[in-house]
Subunit: 201 residues, 2 copies
DNA sequence: CATAAACGATACGATGCGTATCGATAATAA
DNA sequence: TTATTATCGATACGCATCGTATCGTTTATG
């Protein structure tokens, strides 16, 4: 049962306006990057009044966060039937694939930059972006410990800091590409270390 | 031989003004964080005209970068006589010690945030902050490979991404503290993996 | 004494955030 | 039908800040 719009009095929000804003925001991040990203620019490109944006999102950062949540596919970081190593590789490949899109990487970079100014946004980023991923990763590693694929004495928190940290580090500091080769090397390096060296079946 | 000020014509730059600006900037980053950091605020607190700041630094980001370079101690990440593991631990402890200072961590967070807007600054950050540290780390790991302390088949680049990435990740996303416990766990996790498990002498 | 550059003070243009106000429009409720 | 209510686009505003320009003053060199 999809909850009906609740039928409040007054003119309802135009769903098309909502989508137009997100589309325009994405396009602007593609073309101009974070430096050229502004609410007023989004309004202009969406053919929408600035008011209509601020009616939906309380701040620039909130819009960026929604922009991230919007394009979010269900996490591949789950202990399906696959081996833990395969699940990790799949997650990394999916992440890398997404980050090849300039709009997407700009969204994330902008979100973090904005969060440095805005403690409330920083909290939201942790709660909606960082922690869910860490929870997935933690669950996967614990699953691997049960199956024997992961050593018992691995420091899970630090391992997650290594993997996610490497991605954010490359994304935000830009010293090297976040690409397929990177994904492969991370997986290899990780499992050369935390793996239990089981013979491949 | 310290190169004398070159004795150009005209009134020389006041060295005290220079220091007053850096001190005020540091203080402002302590008190107000990145959100409250502005060139005009620095000028006010330094008792200096805004002009005198822009005469020395072309942009806000350039000032932040100099603020970082200013407090920079010589890197502890060097293959002195010590074991590689000890050198790593020393570097991490030094880093953590510095990042406990709010002004210092604000400087770095602000620098990265600013660099997301400013490609020229991003380049400078890579050249002056990121790459020198990576070069130190790389040298240390290669040294360890020669002494047998580090396995030969370790992926150095990815290892550096893990270690530095974990630090930046915690610093910028703020999901967990960058403290002594973190430093210890990183060292342990790292050498549990890349170490050659030599018996301790 | 002439030249040249830094100094503080101040004003300025340009952006961009987020708020406020407007009449018009599209829905519900009586 | 009519009253109410919320959204719509448009526009103006206050505010902060960046970075530039200008000016008279000060401190150095030649």
């Amino acid at each position: 049962m999809t909850t009906k719009p609740a039928a409040r009095p007054g003119r309802p929000r135009d769903e098309a306006t909502h989508r137009a804003i997100l589309r325009a925001a994405n396009r602007l991040l593609h073309e101009a990057g974070y430096g050229g990203f502004s609410i007023e620019g989004v309004a202009l490109r969406a053919g929408v009044a600035k008011t209509s944006i601020y009616r939906r999102w309380p701040s620039k950062g909130a819009l960026l966060l929604d922009l991230y949540m919007e394009g979010l596919a269900p996490a591949a970081l789950e202990p399906s039937g696959k081996k833990v190593r395969q699940a990790f590789a799949a997650y990394l490949n999916q992440t890398v694939e997404r980050l090849k899109d300039a709009g997407w990487s700009n969204t994330l970079r902008s979100l973090v930059a904005e969060a440095q100014n805005d403690p409330a946004l920083a909290r939201l980023v942790r709660d909606k972006v960082i922690e869910p991923r860490r929870a997935d990763g933690r669950r996967l590693l614990e699953h691997g410990m049960k199956t024997g694929e992961i050593r018992k004495n691995v420091d899970i928190d630090i391992t997650l800091d290594f993997v996610f940290g490497a991605i954010w580090y490359r994304l935000l500091l830009g010293h090297a590409a976040v690409d397929e080769a990177f994904a492969r090397r991370v997986t290899t390096a990780l499992f050369k270390r935390i793996g239990n060296d089981l013979p491949m079946p």
